[in-house]
Structures are given as C-alpha cells and as structure tokens.
Symmetry: C2
Subunit: 328 residues, 2 copies
Amino acid sequence: MGGDHGPCVTVPAALDFVRTHDDVRAILVGLEDRIRPLLGNADSSRISIHHASEIVAMDEPPALALRNKKDSSMRVAINLVKEGRADACVSAGNTGALMAISRFVLKMLPGIDRPAICAVLPTTHGHTHVLDLGANVDCEPEHLLQFGIMGASLVSAIEHRERPTVGILNIGEEDIKGNEVVKRAAELLKDSGLNFIGNVEGDGLYKGEAEVVVCDGFVGNVALKASEGLAQMMAGFLQQEFKRNLLTKLIALLALPVLKGFKKHVDHRRYNGASLLGLKGVVVKSHGSADAFAFANALGRAADAARTGVLARITERVAQQQPLQESA
Amino acid sequence: MGGDHGPCVTVPAALDFVRTHDDVRAILVGLEDRIRPLLGNADSSRISIHHASEIVAMDEPPALALRNKKDSSMRVAINLVKEGRADACVSAGNTGALMAISRFVLKMLPGIDRPAICAVLPTTHGHTHVLDLGANVDCEPEHLLQFGIMGASLVSAIEHRERPTVGILNIGEEDIKGNEVVKRAAELLKDSGLNFIGNVEGDGLYKGEAEVVVCDGFVGNVALKASEGLAQMMAGFLQQEFKRNLLTKLIALLALPVLKGFKKHVDHRRYNGASLLGLKGVVVKSHGSADAFAFANALGRAADAARTGVLARITERVAQQQPLQESA
C-alpha cells in the first residue's frame, strides 16, 4: 500500500511480474477494496489478496508504526514471511518502519548484529553491491565485517560467483587513510577468508573496483544520495541545453535514440530494490517513487534472493567465520 | 613544481593570470632552470622566480616531506606567505604534504583547532561551498561548528553575502537522523548566530540547499569522489552512445554546440582550487591533474581570498563566537 503512488503502481507491476515469471505467486497485502478493482480480469491462479486494514504513512515515525499498527499492510506482509507463507516481502513504503518491523518480527540471522541496506549501483562495466546505505549510522569494525560477509553471500548466491571481490569505502589522503573504525574493519576483512581487495575510494564505486563495497550507513547514504542528486542535475543541464532554441530542439529529436541509449545506462529504475540483509527472511525495499517498471525490478531481486537461498548462504558463511574469529 | 604536469602547466597559467589581473604579482617558486625557459619573453615586471632546490613527490609521505625537504618548492612558497612576502600560496602538489607543511609553518588561526579543505561544487542554480573534504577524518561537534564559521566567513568575504546559509550534511532516515556527532554539531550551529538552515542530505548538495555545507572530512571526501566518479561514468556513457555508429557520430557533430554547453555546466576545471581554511595564511590546493585553465581558477580563488581579507573575517567571527559559547 506504501510508496508515493500506492497500489496503482505496485499491483500492475505484480500482475505483470507473475505473468512473466512462471514460478512466482504474488500475495497482494493491503486494503482489499483498493486492490481488487486493480486486478481487472487477471488470471488469478497465482495472484491472491491478503487483506490488511491499516497503512503505515510515509512520514510516520517507525517506532509508532511498530507499536500501533499491528494490522498494517507492511506488518502483515512481514508476518507472512515469518510464518513461511511467503518467501519474500517487497515494499515501497516507509524505510525506517520497514526496517523496524522486519527486525522486530523476523529477528536477525545468527551471528549478525544489525541489518544492512544493500543496493546495486551501476559501474562503467557492470554493477556493484554497496552496503550499508542508511540502516546503521555508527558502526563498529565487526559490523563492517558482517556487511562484507552478507554482501559477498548475496552476490555469490544470485550471481553464481564463488568468491566475489569485497572492498571497503575509504579516502585516499596519504597521511590519514581513513578513520579508526575503517582501519580496524579492513584488518578484520583481510583475515576473514573473503576475497578482500582493500580500499575503494568514492570514485572507485563507479569504476567497479569491487563487486561488494562495505561502508557505514551514514557514509553510504550520503554517497548514494549525492550521486542521485548529481545525476539529476546533470540530466537537467543536458535537457536545458537541448531545449535552448528551435535548432537545439531539432537536434534533440535527431539525437533521441542516442539519448535513450544513454538514459538506459543510468536509469535508476533498473537498479531499484534494496535488500534488507541480515534478517531471517527476504525483505526488499523499493524506492518510494518507483513506477511499475522500477517496482518490477525490486520484485525480481526479491524473487532471485528467495530462489537462490541467500539467507542460507549468509548463515553458512557466518558459521565458517566464527571459528576464524575465535581462533584469532 | 607539483601536480601531474609540473611547471609546464602552472607557469603558463600564472603568466596568463598576471596578464589578465592588473593587481596581481606572481612569485614562481621552484627549480629556476626548469621555470626560466617557460617564461619566454614575458614581461617580467610582475613575475619573479624564487629558487627552491627540492620537490615534494606526489606520493611522498607528508611527514617525510615536512621533516626532510626544507628547501622544497612547497615549503619555500609557504615560508613566503609566513614572512608576508606573498599573500597566498597555490599548489597542485601532494595534498597531505601541503596540509602538514602549511599547518607546521603557518599555524592555526586563534580559536580554530584544525584546518579544513573547502571546495566549491556546482548546483542546479549556482554553486555551494563544502567543507571538510578530507583533512579531518574524525571530527568532534566543535570542529564542525568551526567549519561552519570558516565557510560562512569565506563566502561572506568573497561573495559579499552578509549571512550565507549554512547546512550540515546528514541522512534522512526518520528514526536515526544522523550520528551523535552530527546531532550535537547541529545544536551548536543552531546556537552559533550563523544563518543555520539545518540538515542537508546528499542530494541537497547539488540542489543548492545551503551556500555552505559542513561535514567531516571522511564523508565529504567520499561524497566528492563518488560524485567525480559518477560524472565521469555518465560522460563516458554519453560519449559511448554518440560513438556507436556513423549516424550517431554525425548526430554528435550536429549536437556539438549543445554538448559544449552541457559540458560547461559540469566542467570540474571551473571549480578547481580548494581552500585550506583555518591557517594563518591563504593556501589553495589545485587538483593535481589541473590544466592551465583549471590552475588559473585556483589562482583566482587565492587572489580573491587574499584581496577580500578572508582570514580577518574568520578571526573576527570566531572572536564573536567565543562569548556566545562561553555564556552557553
């Protein structure tokens, strides 16, 4: 029910996703009388509605949503995951509330202290997974190690990569090279058995220097949002120049296929769907402003994670890790 | 002598800058026999060479440069500022060494604990000043307050703005809203008498939400470099699409004026020149890879700072601040 557009985006996206993925069933959780009309005459064998009477508002304090809205669509959807009646929950709603409710209902996987938000960013030659992007603002080195394990597990599961490269986001000034937490986290990652490649600077994110990049949620969130802001600004400048006069507008028409090709590279909708990793259940957060195309990508990520057993992979890697850490 | 290109970029840039700015004299510090030939038949009345026998390498550890290279061009140039024989020092060399030597030779302004790197970033409708961008990786709230005072002083001096707006870089998740340092720094800024507008998220940097944005050097450096990386990647994608085939190459030719206009908006060379604020002297760091156009912009920033009395402005604002803080 959440997100900026509500069911009029999420329901058609789900319908379309089910239609194009034979192994998927969708349970649409929320106000039945809002959802039902949107189903139209869709073949309902793999689509069902699960009524929930409340909605968490986008600006609602997470603690209140957790305490007061026991029958919110978000809470009920996560309950379905907890009960094993759904393999994953996807929401475009309030991030803080989704995090708080998921953590409360599902609990953490053994050996993981905190959930982390993991998203995919485009790089010059592919993409990279970055975590945490905002769930944890003050991290200890051990948390960054756990993020590395979770990120590597995710990539190895869904992309069938045995030992994905893992880097740590850092700065490059010679005399300071990062703060104490990052320095100690790098030591832990080095001894972890992960394919740790060391520091990645801000620009290295987009050069694809590592398949997984870990950072604390404050830095990650700022880097992600700064990138979004810059991309929007650049797109705006390009548009502005093409709209300058009749001639430039004509050139824009001619250049349309080129601009479309360009836009496809940096279309954030293709990268929609951040995984809330570390929980005993698959939870994926879609951008609130997602359209049906973007939301379908979030659904795809959730389906991939459920299908490829990401949670089992994380649990296994953490277990492998414990003896290492204890013997250190 | 520093930077990726050395005097063959910095000397022509200085010559040109002096030619176009009647009130400026340039002292070229470094190996005389490398610099002299580059002067050609330039009118030398406002250009002089000050010989220095050593060069700090770009990858030299700052502590070693500080201890061992007493006659480096960097050290000698900063000495000239210290002795009042130059109003400002501009270097494209090793950032860490420039910072260490400046701090050692010039010392800090009264009431300022640490230097900060302040750069200008483009926004959708102008530009913004952001600090710190890498000098301080672990900041206390008081340091962020000082960054706010320094940034506001710089903007009010060089842009003749009485009360520039100041924001603090933060993240927007409802339940966590930033780490403890940022929260306490926001309190200090609120009580500072500065025109503090509160939190600015990563994307707000490029929306120009504040004329000055403060952050710790770790976050600032990551945000800046991530932005650089993303801008490069986007420019690369655009180029790639225009080079796809003969037709797109033809369209690129037609679109050349538009693309030039676009490039001008995001040309990082226009924003070259980061101020090392908080020192008893004007020191400006140029990007190591700067060309003559970019280096001239760094020279312009240094001249502006010297001309408009930024240091006196900072000192004055800090002094105004002290009673406020003590009475608090």
